[in-house]
Symmetry: C3
Subunit: 147 residues, 3 copies
């Protein structure tokens, strides 16, 4: 048996897989950050989770900031996973493809840094925009390739 829908350069697949796994780990870290904030602020989302001295609340600014960053990852990184995967089948140059995969990983990490760790609106916005338009570029390439 062999898959018959196209060619992918091993170097391109290597870069995609490596940076996709890095981004998945980055997303998993968001759950840890949420848990740390919940523990330190003693703010929980289910009655059965509440620790002594804690409370159920959905408006703690620090907890909600991490959750917004996490949701932003879901809105942007999860579609990127399939877009980046399919983009490999559009015969991109190895140089362009590998660097776009690196770029998306870098700006999605910096997005979290500038949203949660050191909130800076300008840099967070720039990080988001670079990831957004890189993903859009890849998606448009897929649409044109498979038209």
């Amino acid at each position: 048996m062999s898959l018959v829908f196209g060619q992918v350069e091993p170097a391109v697949f290597q870069a995609y897989a490596f940076w996709a796994a890095v981004l998945a780990l980055k997303m998993l870290v968001m759950s840890i950050l949420t848990g740390l904030q919940r523990g330190s602020k003693k703010v929980f989302s289910n009655p059965e989770d509440v620790k002594p001295g804690g409370t159920v609340a959905y408006n703690d600014p620090d907890v909600e900031r991490v959750r917004r960053a996490h949701r932003n990852d879901m809105e942007n990184i999860l579609p990127y996973f399939i877009v980046g995967f399919l983009y490999m089948f559009t015969s991109p140059s190895v140089f362009v493809a590998t660097n776009l995969f690196r770029l998306v990983a870098a700006v999605r990490i910096s997005h979290t840094v500038f949203h949660v760790l050191v909130p800076v609106h300008k840099f967070r916005g720039l990080s988001w925009a670079v990831g957004f338009f890189t993903t859009a570029f890849m998606a448009v390439r897929i649409v044109l390739h498979f038209l």
Copy 2:
């Protein structure tokens, strides 16, 4: 090296890749719509984002409507991406597979139209249901094929 887990018809992969990229672009547009609503209603989610005359709020009906539509996309389109991909390996007929991919893309676009642009409960519900049960159908086919 070759991937050895099954056969995919090029026409099926072409349809999957094309419509998956269209749906990814559709999802990206939700972020733009959210940003436009935030700008026009001057309602922001982080203190550092607030523009002159604006405020931080999480209950603006227009902003939240777009965000609900966006979350609905995440709940439905993101699982569909992997389900549609794996469905290709169940030896579906080219006619059925390509048309199911088109159908899911069409109803997920109409879902957003009837949720955000022209709110009509009945048509939005129908769009959601067609996408939902088509995805469920594909997932059941995968389960039966790889049992």
Copy 3:
């Protein structure tokens, strides 16, 4: 045409596809559970959805509990889909890979059971942790393999 980026054992792909489809179906069920709760509590999220005797609200504890479980699925299962897929290309042993796929599916189902059906903090936390660290383990293997 053939895909040229690596070998995947048919038994590993079979296990991945089967359990990924099961998990996708499990996620789809969350939408049904949300709808059932909305109907029984008569609590809706859009003005145009409200049935006679119902209201728009975003703080019903039963509805919001299902929605939190659904979001937790999106945070954990959706990244797992790509991580599990790429993990297949790291030449894992058939025994380890197939059992990890089964494990993730089992604990993500038990997570929902202990969050929504029979809320038990301890068992829900354990289910979450096993799925989380299994996904992290696979992601680290991918990073090391494609370094």
